[in-house]
């Protein structure tokens, strides 16, 4: 396989592809809502489980110092004491928040690349510009390549247009570069490179190209997608954050209700 998808990205994609395919007919927002759900739930669960049990009391403690400053505003000595105390309590609260935030960022990072590649990128209305930086001149071909192919001498660059990014194969030095299927919910390719970059681990829009003696790094000029819900238009990232937060909150509320219901279940009578 010449154009490689890193293993981690491939495994996640294998799980998400069927889901995105099912949601494809319902539109990108439905797909994004569906794919955001596991990320939101995992983030919420990660946050809940990694949070210290006394997080609520730490928060109340920091807030009570601030309220105290307002109440004792006419007593400067008390206000200063409370200010230092508030600062310390806030630092303690922030320190307590670090582990849950770090843990919650893992599902967010895993989902971010996938959702960006599937719903965050769009092909421009006219041709997408492809620019390849390389050690030495590369040869490009493909049905979608629109001439002229502009070559820069120093540094060594090749630039050209492609018709409909995400719809067809491009060949660089004889190596086919898959730019994506163009199917709704399937990843578009924004970058291909011979270097093994860490960001490619979780981002299917970055393809690692193998089997070339010539090192090159290409980028496809895609544009950021934005969507409209109920007359409000915003970039894909805003909707991803909103959708995953709503789904996480709903999950937490549901989980809390289930736990309460379990606790309230009457004990079975003793035999």
């Amino acid at each position: 396989m010449d154009s490689l998808v890193p293993a981690a990205s491939r495994i996640i994609a294998a799980i998400l592809d069927p889901v995105a395919g099912i949601a494809g007919d319902a539109g990108p927002l439905a797909g994004m809502a569906l794919l955001s759900a596991p990320a939101g739930v995992l983030m919420a669960e990660a946050f809940r489980r990694a949070s210290p049990r006394n997080l609520g009391s730490l928060l109340r403690s920091a807030l009570s110092r601030m309220a105290g400053m307002v109440l004792h505003v006419e007593d400067p000595v008390t206000v200063v004491k409370l200010a230092f105390s508030s600062l310390w309590r806030t630092l303690v609260l922030l320190a307590a928040l670090v582990p849950p935030i770090l843990l919650a960022s893992l599902p967010f990072s895993a989902a971010y690349g996938q959702i960006r590649a599937r719903y965050g990128l769009a092909s421009p209305r006219d041709h997408a510009v492809v620019t390849i930086d390389s050690d030495s001149a590369v040869e490009v071909a493909g049905d979608g390549v629109v001439p002229p192919v502009v070559r820069g001498v120093s540094p060594c660059t090749v630039s050209f247009r492609i018709e409909g990014a995400g719809r067809g194969a491009l060949t660089v030095d004889g190596i086919p570069i898959d730019t994506g299927s163009g199917e709704p919910g399937m990843p578009l390719v924004s970058r291909f490179t011979t270097a093994r970059t860490p960001s490619a681990l979780l981002d299917p829009s970055i393809r690692i190209v193998d089997g070339s003696a010539n090192r090159f790094d290409g980028r496809i000029g895609l544009v950021q997608a934005s969507y409209e819900i109920a007359g409000i238009r915003a970039g894909w990232l805003a909707w991803f954050v909103i959708l995953s937060s709503v789904e996480a909150t709903a999950w937490l509320a549901l989980a809390s209700a289930i736990r309460k219901a379990r606790r309230l279940r009457p004990c079975s009578p003793a035999p």
């Binding site: 041709h127 620019t131 002229p148 070559r151 820069g152 120093s154 238009r233």
Partner: protein, 652 residues
Amino acid sequence: MRRREFLRLAALAPAAALAFSCARRFRRGRARRVILIGIDGMDPGLARSYMDAGLMPNCSRLARMGSFSPLRTEFPPQSPVAWSSFITGTGPESHGIFDFIHRDPVTLAPYLSTSAVEPGGRDLRLGSLRLPLEGSATRLLRAGDPFWRHLREDGMPVTLMKLPVDFPPVSAHGARILCGLGTPDVRGSQGSFTFFTDNPMRISDDTAGGLVIAVRAEDGRYSCPLDGPPDGFRDGSPACRTWITVTADPVSDGVLVETGSGSAVLGRGEWSGWVPVEFGMLGGLSKVRSIARFHLRSVSPHLELYVSPLNMDPAHPSLPICSPRGYAPDLAFSLGPFHTKGFPEDTKALSRGVLDDVSYLGQAFDLYHEQLSLMREGLGGFDEGLFFFYFSTLDLNVHMFYRDIDGLSPTHSTVMDGARGIVPRLYSMMDGAVGEAMEAMDGDTMLLVFSDHGFSPFRRGFNLNSWLAAEGYARLFDPVAARGEMFAGTDWSSTSAYGLGINSLYLNLRGREEGGSVDPAQASALLDRIASGLLSAVDPATGLHPVSNVRVLGGGRVAGLPPHAPDMLVGYASGYRSSWDTSLGGYSEEVISDNTDPWSGDHCMDPDAVPGVLLSSMPLPGASPALRDIGRTACSFLGSTTLPPGKDLGDG
């Protein structure tokens, strides 16, 4: 009746009454929807001849359904004046727009008549940094009430796309407005191009219409400085600058253009799409987002790269170009980037020779299709009320290519082969747009297609200032030094009148002009003498009278005029117009000379020589229709409870 039922009915009663009253209002109109298609510069004579030749089948069908007639325009028949009359239903003495250019009576400094930027007040200075505490504001200079106010007060939906002379849209009254003619580029001008070249033959210091900038290649790459809006955070407000990298490849005959926020690959003779260009202020904390199109004229032996005027990005406009604020971004979201500058076609680049006929037309066709897409988008969601759309296609392009249909034009032979026959083609294209508007009609829709003026040839330029000097109304210290420069070498103590703008003549009035020499009591008689002289002037080359009409406003003839109003409006005969020098107060060696600019057709003449056109889908029995009657007619057809000034053309 139970108490609960009574309360429920009591709550429903006002809603039912409101619904009934609205229904009554809408039922009273003769149409549920009115579509107004404003085609700037559509000439009734040319339209009739192309309709007869079968080039405009949709307009012919529309004329058979309703009516086709000339439409009386304003004096002077200039677009800002005429469209202001369309909006307000009144003449220039009421809406205050008399010319493209007005002048400050004290300093004689010319300024654009339609809008002005008022600088902010106090600011905080930190070295060369300036932090404004009060922001600057853009002000619409057109006075008067827009006709759609009456419709909005009745709760009718109103959408006006590419509306001329309404920038900024301060009097929307709840209408959806996308500004058109009068909207500046991000530099604040009406459009200035940039042309990068390493061809020494092309480099010039002339700044008319745009900048030609010399660039130099290093390893096949050019770093090109592109100036943007004035940086209001720095002393003296110097222009913001961004650098564009151009990679040129003589082998493939193409370039890669990188703006930092977008890129384009171009072959020779190609146009790019809209490419984002950003300008940073305050170290990047504040950004102005613009869009530009690039056109590659040549790579080898010399780079010649044209950059269109920098339009405001409709997705992130830096100035108010629409109402409500999200309207242009919503359109950009649906359609992609589109032109926002009032004069979309870059006629100055063609006049300067930076673009040739064929490359200019490439730009013009793309802009026509953008306008068509905008109209489709607007008509797509139009269910009731008023919809207006403005097309610039005929006006600006016929200005540039009238020479093709005018065998007597001094520039007739300069039309490139690829541009021959363009005027009938443009009319045919506009007929296609009319056809699309007709497809949106139903039995309850009134469609009016109209223009603000027609067209006439512009073969000879009449320098009003030189004529005034030749007739003794102006005196020059040094006639040679005065050429081209704004009133350079004018002896104001012995000058009684001057020309500025396209059709405007002013007296050098004591108490109004700083160096005024004319006694206001003598103004009326002086104006009569000048009018008589102008009307009897003869072009020695043709034996024709260059001026066929004048309208005297000063000397107390029209009461309540604003101080910026001209004292006389000069109506040039067909074939003549004020010379290029006149509009900015220049003198020339000859009073009348050939117009050698590609800008070969015009309408800033005697209004009787350039009437507009009116086509309607319903018969209009009103006699001698005028442009200022359109708004009232639309309101009347929609059953508005109050009506703007003007005449209802639907009344016999």
